[in-house]
Symmetry: C2
Subunit: 476 residues, 2 copies
C-alpha cells in the first residue's frame, strides 16, 4: 500500500469515526472479536473496523463513505446465521456494519395489523411488543432471543410457523433500505396491496445484504390465537406422516400451524443425552410427528378438533398411537423433544448438517433413496432426520458411526454433501431451504443453479451494486 | 424505411412464421383486431403481427428473433387488464405475443398442494382442475372466465380472497420464464422454502411483461373448505366497519375470507338498475359490510361462528342489523349485491375509477378527507365507494352529478384523479392496489414513487432487458 493509499484509508476511517461517534467505532481486538467470528465458531475473519451507526442516516453516511473509498461492507445483525453470511473474510479490507443500535420499534398499528421495526430489533422483542397489543408476530426460531429482524429479512428466515404463516418474506409489507450508493429508499408502506412497479422489497429480502442494507421494515401481525394445543403421533414411515398431513390439513385448515417429523433415532438421542425427556409411549415407534393447532375459539374446541383428527388417523391406520397435551406444560414438553434434537446430536459428536427441502409429496421417497446413497458414501453413519415436514423442509443430518473419531468422520463430509445435494437436486429440491447461501454454500450452488438463473442474479447484482462492495463473497 | 430495412423486417416476419406455423401468425385486420384493443374499448394500437406460439420453446425462438431484429414485444394473456398493459402502442413496430395457446395443466400434486400450469390457462379452468382434486385455488376475480394465469401473475392480481390467501404473488412457488434474450429459465420448483439466491420469481411477478415472459408457473393449492357462509351487516360508518373487522378477525382468525365494504349509494344504484336486487333490510343504512367465512369443519360450525360475531357486534353497537345467509342461494344473492355495483355504476353513466389502497386503520379518515377534496374538484359528483376493506383496497369511484353530460364530466377527470391520488399518497397509500400501472398510470406514478425507487427499477429494467424490447411503454 502506498503512502497516498494509506492516507486515503486514514481519511476514510476518520470520516467514519466522525459520522457515528468514537464510542461506536471499534478497532481494538477485544471490542471487535464478537463481530468477526461466526456463531458456531468455525470461522474468524478480519475487518478494518466495526461500525455501529445509530440511525438510518448514519448508515447512509457510512455507506456513502465506503462507496467513495471503495471499502467493502459486511452488514451484520445478531450474527446468528449458519452459513457464514454475516462475518467478513480474512483480507481485513472490509468494515463490519452492525445494525444492532437501530433497535427501535417505531410504530404499532393493531388495526392495520402492522408494526414498523428497525433492523436491529431482536426478534423476541418484536414478538413481545405484538403480544402486548393482543397480536401475534408469528416468526419463531431457535435464535429468537438474539437474532435481529434485519437478519431474518436478509436471510428470509423460516422457523416453526411457516406452514401457516409463511417465511419471513411473507411477513413483510414494506422496507427501508440503504442502497449501495448510500441513498435511503423509504418504502415503509403498510399495504396489503400495492401494484405500482417492480417488487424491490422481495429483491432485498433474502439477498443476504449483497444488494443493500435493510434498516427498517413494516411487518405483518395477526390476531392472537385463543389457544394452542400440541399432540405427538407415533407412526411407521414418513409416507404415513404425509398422509396424516393431508388428513390434518383437510380437517383443520389454517388451524394446523405446526407439523414436525422426528425419526426414532432422534428421540433416542434426546432420551440418551437429556433424560428424562423421551417420547411418551409404551414402546418405540419408527417415526413421530409433532402437530400443533392454533385456534381462534377456545382450547376445548382445539382439543376436540385434535381428537377428531387423531381418531380418524387411528381408524385409517395412519398412526399407531398418539398423545394430546392437556396443559401448557405438556405442550412445552412435547415441543422440547423437537427442540432438543440439535443439542442431543451435538453431544453425540461431530455431525454433518443439511438444510434441504423437496416437494412435500416426495419426502418419503427422498428419504428412502438418499439414506442408501449416504450409506454408500459413508458406511455405518447414522441419519438424524427431522424437520418441518409440513414445509417439505428436512434437517437431514448425519452422525458418525459409533466409535469413529470426529477428525476421521469430517473427511467424509464432501462425499456425504455431494450425495445428499445431488439427490435433493434430482428430487427438484433446494440445498438451502431456510439458512441461505452465505459464504458456505456459494460455491456449492453453482453446481445446481441453472446458468440462466445465475446470469440474471449477476446482472441484478451488477445493476444494484456496481462496485461489488455489499457483503462481497456471499451468495454470488 | 430503406430497402435493406424492409428486407430485414421481412426476414424477421418470415422467420416468425416458420417458427410458429402460418396458422398462428396473424396479420389480417379481422384476425388481429381482438388483440389490439383493450377490454374496455378505450384504446386501439397497431402491431407488425400477432404471434401465437404453441410452446415455451416457440416463445423462446420468437423472442430470440425479436432480440436479433430489435422488434418490441407486447406479451398478452386474456387481454382483460384495466390499465392498457397488454395492448401495443400505435407505432405498429411491435409484435403482440399471445400466450393463449400455452394452456395445458402440466401437473397436479394434491399432496404437495401444487399445480403446474402454463401461462395461457384460463383462471376458471385452474380453479376447476383444483376442485376436481378436492383442492382450492383461491384466486378469484371478475374476469376469471377469460383472464389467464400468466396475466394474473404478470399483474399480481388481487381479487376477493386476498384477505386470507394473499395476492397472486403469494400463490406462486415457481416460474418458467423466457428472458429478454430468449433463454428459458426453468424454475418450476414446488417448494415452500428455498433460500438459494435472489428472488427472481417475485421480480417477474407484477412486472407486467416488461422484464421477461412468464410461460408457466407452479401455483399453491389449499384444502377445500367444507363450508362457506356469507353475512351482510348494516352499519353507520367505515370506522364502525373497521372495528367489526378487528372483532371478526379476533373471533374467526383465518376462517374470515371475505370482508367487503359497500356504501348505501352503491346499494341504491344496484336496486335502481338491477331490481329486485337490494339490501335485505327494512330501512336504509349508511354502510354495509359483506362477510364471508370459510370453514374446515361444517356449515353448522360456520353459522355458529357468525352468530357469535354478529351477536357481539350488535352488543358493542358496531352494527345496526345483519342477515346471515342460510343457503347457498342466499349467499350468492348477497355476493351479487357486491358484484353488481360496477355494472350498476356503468348504467348510471360515465364514471371515474380509482383502484387505491391505504393502511386499513386509516380508511375511515381517508374517506372523510378525500370525499371533501373530490367535492372541491368536482362539485355535486357522487361517490361510489366500495371494495376489499379487509385489504385496505377501495374502488373509490366517482359518478357525475345527476344531469351532467358524460363529455362534460370527463373533463373533470384530471382534477379528480389528482385530488384522489394526492390524498392517497398523503395517507401512505398506493394509486394502483391491484390493477398495475400498464400504460395508463405510467406517467402518474412518477409523481408518487420516490426517485430512489424509480432509479432502482430502471437499473433492473436495464439489466434484464438492455434493448428495452419487453412491453415498451408500460410500467416504466
Amino acid at each position: 500500500m502506498t503512502a497516498a493509499q494509506q492516507d486515503f484509508r486514514q481519511d476514510f476511517l476518520q470520516a467514519c469515526r466522525d459520522a457515528i461517534g468514537i464510542a461506536h467505532f471499534l478497532t481494538a481486538d477485544a471490542d471487535t472479536a464478537g463481530y468477526l467470528t461466526d456463531q458456531r465458531g468455525r470461522y474468524t475473519g478480519r475487518a478494518l473496523a466495526v461500525l455501529r451507526p445509530g440511525s438510518t442516516e448514519e448508515v447512509a453516511t457510512v455507506v456513502k463513505l465506503c462507496a467513495r473509498h471503495l471499502v467493502p461492507i459486511v452488514p451484520q445483525g445478531g450474527n446468528t446465521g449458519l452459513v457464514l453470511g454475516s462475518v467478513p473474510d480474512t483480507s481485513g479490507k472490509a468494515v463490519v456494519l452492525s445494525l444492532t443500535r437501530l433497535n427501535r420499534i417505531r410504530a404499532v398499528d393493531p388495526v392495520n395489523n402492522t408494526m414498523t421495526v428497525e433492523a436491529g430489533c431482536i426478534l423476541q422483542n418484536i414478538q413481545q411488543a405484538a403480544a402486548a397489543q393482543q397480536r401475534l408476530f408469528p416468526l419463531s426460531l431457535a435464535a429468537e432471543g438474539s437474532c435481529t429482524i434485519g437478519g431474518n429479512l436478509s436471510t428470509n428466515a423460516g422457523g416453526t410457523a411457516v406452514l401457516r404463516y409463511g417465511n419471513t418474506r411473507e411477513l413483510c409489507l414494506g422496507l427501508e433500505v440503504v442502497t449501495a450508493e448510500g441513498e435511503i429508499m423509504s418504502s415503509l408502506r403498510g399495504l396489503r396491496k400495492d401494484n405500482t412497479g417492480y417488487d424491490l422489497r422481495d429483491l432485498f429480502i433474502g439477498a443476504e445484504g449483497t444488494l443493500g442494507i435493510i434498516t427498517a421494515a413494516v411487518v405483518k401481525l395477526f390476531p392472537q390465537p385463543k389457544a394452542q394445543v400440541t399432540a405427538l403421533a407415533a407412526l411407521r414411515t414418513p409416507d404415513h406422516a404425509l398422509r396424516l398431513l393431508s388428513l390434518a390439513q383437510a380437517q383443520c385448515g389454517a388451524a394446523l400451524t405446526g407439523f414436525e417429523l422426528m425419526s426414532d433415532f432422534c428421540m433416542q438421542l434426546v432420551a440418551k443425552h437429556f433424560p428424562p425427556h423421551r417420547a411418551p409411549f409404551d414402546r418405540l415407534h419408527p417415526q413421530y410427528v409433532l402437530l400443533e393447532l392454533s385456534d381462534s375459539e377456545s382450547e376445548v374446541h382445539a382439543s376436540e378438533m385434535f381428537e377428531a383428527v387423531i381418531g380418524l388417523a387411528l381408524e385409517q391406520e395412519l398412526i399407531d398411537d398418539a398423545v394430546i397435551a392437556s396443559s401448557i406444560a405438556q405442550s412445552k414438553a412435547l415441543w422440547q423433544l423437537r427442540e432438543l434434537i440439535s443439542m442431543a446430536q451435538a453431544h453425540e459428536g461431530k455431525n454433518i448438517k443439511h438444510d434441504i427441502s423437496v416437494p412435500i409429496s416426495r419426502i418419503g421417497e427422498f428419504i428412502r433413496v438418499t439414506d442408501v446413497l449416504v450409506q454408500q458414501a459413508s458406511p455405518g453413519c447414522r441419519m438424524v432426520t427431522f424437520g418441518h415436514l409440513g414445509d417439505g423442509n428436512l434437517h437431514y443430518n448425519v452422525s458418525p458411526p459409533p466409535g469413529i473419531k470426529d477428525t476421521d468422520f469430517i473427511l467424509e463430509q464432501p462425499a456425504i454433501n455431494r450425495a445428499v445435494h445431488d439427490s435433493v437436486d434430482k428430487f427438484g429440491g433446494s440445498i438451502s431451504a431456510e439458512h441461505g447461501l452465505g459464504a458456505l454454500k456459494r460455491e456449492e450452488i453453482l453446481r445446481y443453479k441453472s446458468p440462466v438463473e445465475l446470469r440474471l442474479m449477476r446482472a441484478i447484482k451488477q445493476a444494484l451494486d456496481p462496485h461489488a462492495l455489499m457483503n462481497p463473497g456471499k451468495v454470488l
